[in-house]
Every structure is written in structure tokens, then in C-alpha cells.
Amino acid sequence: MSSIDTSVPVSTGGSKVLAWLVVLAALALLVATPFLPNYYVRVVNGLLIYILLGIGLNIVVGYAGLLDLGFVAFYAVGAYTYALLASPQLDLHLPFLLIVVIAAGLGLMAGILLGIPVLKLRGDYLAIVTLGFGEIIRIIVNNVDWLTGGPKGIARLDKASVAGIELARPVEIYWLLLVCVVVIGTLVWRMERSILGKAWAAIREDQDAARGIGINTTVAKLTAFATSAMIGSIAGVIFAASQRFVSPESFALQESVLIVLMIVVGGIGNILGVIVGAAILILMPEVLREFAEWRVLFLGLLMIVLIILRPGGMIPRTFGPDKLIRRLFSR
């Protein structure tokens, strides 16, 4: 680490111990999960889905600096793709992996279709238009009864299976999700570090200067939008396959907001931050389950306090996985 790199706190013994503790706790949770009762496995699965969603949305919000409040629409696209192609609803029963590919493609298209008209808009306007888009999708899904079952949703979805192995029990879904999170997380992290990720950062920092160095900002932003939509859609497929039931309730505006919050509380523009943010916001309500409605109040207040204490999130933007590893093995 260069001596003038002031962006990361000075490496001390204390923070190294802390880093090890957190990493070991996370690894222990991952190893222990398959042996836990189903209830806890479902909680971890929920966490992993939200991490996946967070990784996807972080591309747009954290890397490219565009506030997207309608992300849940892409999640819905994926979930309903699975629900329609693998259930008695249309009496279609396509294989799981094929649906993942179809859903990824549909997500990509939805991202581009939404992106083309809205990417000219500035920050706050973009937020409200994406929010509106999310609501439009939800309302349509809620009302096209003949196709989506309306508010009742679609039930009796097929069990997922990959290469003849059935993935239906929580533990099986857990492995599927873990693989997805690791693979997609790694790819997205490589994107962040690539020339594309640097262009996104430049757009976030100063969109006009980014144009001045020859970046076609529209195309770069569309790429961010489309990639993120694709990941959201894939998460939707897995969500539908694990619940084996979808209804519009799961795709309310609050979900989009929750994902944005995860990113900001954890550390905007940083994959580690997304994981930490998801852990706080998804696990906290579970831990506080017995306090019923008080826990929501607590969560709201906690959000305010966390943001005031660390407006940039728990983990600095520059403290990525590479820095974490270096910290763990530093002397």
C-alpha cells in the first residue's frame, strides 16, 4: 500500500483482528447453514437473494451513480418469467436453466427499454421515473389476471432442477444461491475493476468531463442498467423457484427502497458493503422478531443513526475485496 493512500484507515492490529473476526463469522455461517433447521436456512437464503439484488442494483446506484428506485420491476420480470414458464398456469414446464437464460435476456431487454428514455434525465428525475416504472409493472401484474393470476399470484410452480438434480428443499436452494452469489459477485467485481467500471466511476464523478474524454455516456449507462436488470431478473427466477409461488406483493416499492438502503448503509459502490448492508437490514429484523412491530420502528431509527454516523456507508468505497484480503494477511 502506497504511503499516501489515505483512503483506507491505517492498518492496525485491532482492525486486522476485526477483519478476521468478521470474515471468519461469515465463513462459519456459510459452512453451518446446511446443518441448521429449515427456518434458519430460509433466512440465509433470503439474505443471499438480497445480496444478489444488492450486487445488481449497486452497478447502477453505486458504480454509475444513478438513483434507480424501480429495480424491483426487473426482479418481478424474472420471477414471473419462471412462474409462467414452469407452472400449470400456461401449462408450460421448461427446464430451469433455460428459463434462467430467457429471464436474463428479458431482464436485459427490459433494462434497455427503460434505460433509453430515462437515462437523459438527471438524478432526482431519474429516481421518480424509475420508481414510476416499478409501480407500473406492479400494477400491470396485479391486474392482468388471465396471465398473472392478479393479486392471488401463481402457485404450484415447478421444482427447479439442474442436470437432473432437484433443487427444492431450502438447503438445495441454498447451494444454488451460494454458487450464484459467488459467480455473479466475482464477475461484477471484475467489471468494477475493468475499464468499464472505471468509465462508470467517471460518469458518476463528472458526467460531462467523462464525455470530454470520449466516453459515450449513454451507452455506458445503458450497459450498467442492462447488466443490473439482468442480475435482478436472475435473482427473481431463483426467488420464484425457491418459493414456488409468486404474487405482486413481493414486488412493492418498499423492496426497491430496501435494496437501495442496503447499499447505502453497507457502503455505496462496494460489493463488501452490499454484503454488510444486507446482513444488517435482513438479519436484524429476524433477530428482533419477538419484538413484533417495535422492531420496524427500531429498524427505521437505526437507519437514520447509521446514515448520520457514516453517510458513505459502513465500509469505504475503496475498501474492496482486494484490500480486505491484503488487510487479512498484512503484517
Binding site: I4, T6, A199, A202, G212, I215, N216, T217
Partner: protein, 276 residues
């Protein structure tokens, strides 16, 4: 490689900012654009860089028209610029500020870089090496990993010029590069800019610091009220009575400026000799 303005006009409603400017900028020379505030100097830069649309007329680079292109397309034609108020990517590191300039060249293979790490490593190493070389030229190598926004003001100016040079542009537009710099930094800037002269490059500097302009530029365009008032060598500009009355003011000022320019030339001469 010549940059040509042909009957260039820019107006905002009835307010004329640039009025029928025609001139050309040859490569291998450093061109200065001077003039009082509001003369249209920055507007010329902004129009050339594609930041402002052109009301009428044309801007040709090497025969191809730059008008009507989007800003990023103009940049990809080899026109690079700096800004009057520094516009760096503050939260990116100094090195990243330069690396990102390779985006237009590298984006075609971005997916290969993402999916195939060895390819990325090799490409990145090559890009980094080139950027580090540029940083060394501007004496910024020690800041490579620092956040650009955390640099002292003078270093930020240098970094912005370095960023403009990454892709080896055919046209380099510098919008008041010496604004806010102290004497020492201005001297450093002057010598670096002098070293950037290349037969492959058109350099245009908009600047208020007359010492710098007179000592550095080979040709000077004087703007006044949106019109091209005069163009010629520094000596010709200093001798022109038109320029004197319209812009430079009294005879005393001109003598001061001449003296300062002599001084500066002498200084630069000495420094150049020491270095070699």
C-alpha cells in the same frame, strides 16, 4: 492536421458571442487566444470541443468537419481539453483518472477483459505503464494511488493536463491552465507545455497570464467582443496599435509586459540549458 474555423458564429438568442471568426491553427505550434473577459475565448474552446453547438460556420480538423458531432465523438476525433474550473474525477485515484481515458479504445474488448483475467492483467499493465510514464513527466508519480480530489490545487491542474494527453490527442485545448497557480507553479507549467510541442499536435491555450502567453506561444489570436481582432506573432501583437487600444490599455502596461516576457524567456533559457 490543421484545425480551421470557417465563418464561425455563436449566438444565444440575439446575443452574439462569436461573430464570424475564421482562422486556422497549424500543428507544431502553440497558439494563444487572448482577449478581455467576455471576448469569446472560452466559447471558442467549448465549441471546438463539442461542448457548445455551433450556430453557423464550420470547424474542420484535417478536412473533416467537427460540427454536429457529440462531445464524446469530438473527443474521439483526437480533440482533448482541460477546463477553466478543474474537472477531475475526484473520488478516483490519480492513476485511474488517466487509465479511464483508454475507455474508447478498450471498450470493444471490455467483456474479454472481464471474463479472461490474464488478458485483463496484460492489458492493464500496459495501460498503467503508459499512464505512469505520463505521471512522471508531470512529476505526479508519487500521487498515483491518491484520490485526485485530495491533491493540492496546482497538482490538480497538472493532472488535468496529463489526463488530456493520455490518448495522444491531435488537438490540445487548454482553458486557462495557469489560473490560480503561483509563480513557481506557472513557471513549471510553462516549461512542461513548451516540452509538449509536437509536429503532430495543434496546441491552443486560452490564458490571462500575459507573461505565459507571450513567452510560450508562437502565434496569438486576439479576440474582442466576439470578433477576431488581430492575429500574429507575440511581437506583432505587442506592436499592434489595435490590440493596444482595444485590449492592453496604456503604453506603460505594454512595456511592463514586454519586460516580463523577456525576463521569462531568459529564465526558461537558463532552465533549459541546466536540464540538458
Amino acid at each position: 492536421m490543421t484545425l480551421t474555423f470557417q465563418n464561425l458564429r455563436k449566438h444565444y438568442g440575439s446575443n452574439v458571442a462569436i461573430d464570424d471568426v475564421s482562422t486556422s491553427f497549424a500543428p507544431g505550434l502553440i497558439h494563444g487566444i487572448i482577449g478581455p473577459n467576455g471576448a469569446g475565448k472560452s466559447t471558442l474552446i467549448n465549441m471546438t470541443a463539442g461542448s457548445y453547438t455551433v450556430s453557423s460556420g464550420a470547424i474542420h480538423l484535417d478536412g473533416s468537419n467537427l460540427c454536429g458531432l457529440q462531445k464524446f465523438e469530438v473527443a474521439n476525433q483526437g480533440v482533448a481539453r482541460t477546463y477553466q474550473n478543474i474537472r477531475l474525477f475526484d473520488q478516483m485515484t490519480v492513476l485511474e483518472n488517466l487509465e479511464v481515458c483508454y475507455y474508447p479504445q478498450a471498450v470493444g474488448q471490455a467483456w474479454k477483459e472481464i471474463l479472461w483475467p490474464p488478458f485483463a492483467t496484460e492489458r492493464e499493465a500496459r495501460r498503467r505503464a503508459a499512464c505512469m510514464e505520463l505521471l512522471s513527466f508531470f512529476n505526479l508519480q508519487g500521487y498515483a494511488e491518491a484520490e485526485a480530489g485530495s491533491l493540492p490545487y496546482g497538482r490538480q491542474r497538472m493532472l488535468e493536463i496529463a489526463r488530456a494527453l493520455v490518448t495522444n490527442p491531435r488537438v490540445l485545448l487548454l482553458d486557462e491552465p495557469a489560473a490560480g497557480l503561483n509563480h513557481h507553479e506557472t513557471a513549471e507549467l510553462t516549461s512542461r507545455l513548451a516540452a509538449l510541442k509536437s509536429p503532430e499536435r495543434v496546441m491552443i491555450i486560452v490564458e490571462h497570464d500575459m507573461d505565459l502567453v507571450m513567452s510560450l506561444c508562437d502565434r496569438i489570436v486576439v479576440m474582442h467582443h466576439g470578433k477576431l481582432l488581430f492575429e500574429g506573432t507575440p511581437a506583432e501583437v505587442q506592436a499592434s496599435t489595435d490590440v493596444q487600444t482595444a485590449y492592453l490599455g496604456t503604453a506603460n502596461d505594454i512595456d511592463d509586459i514586454k519586460a516580463a516576457a523577456e525576463d521569462r524567456r531568459a529564465q526558461l533559457g537558463i532552465r533549459a540549458r541546466r536540464r540538458s
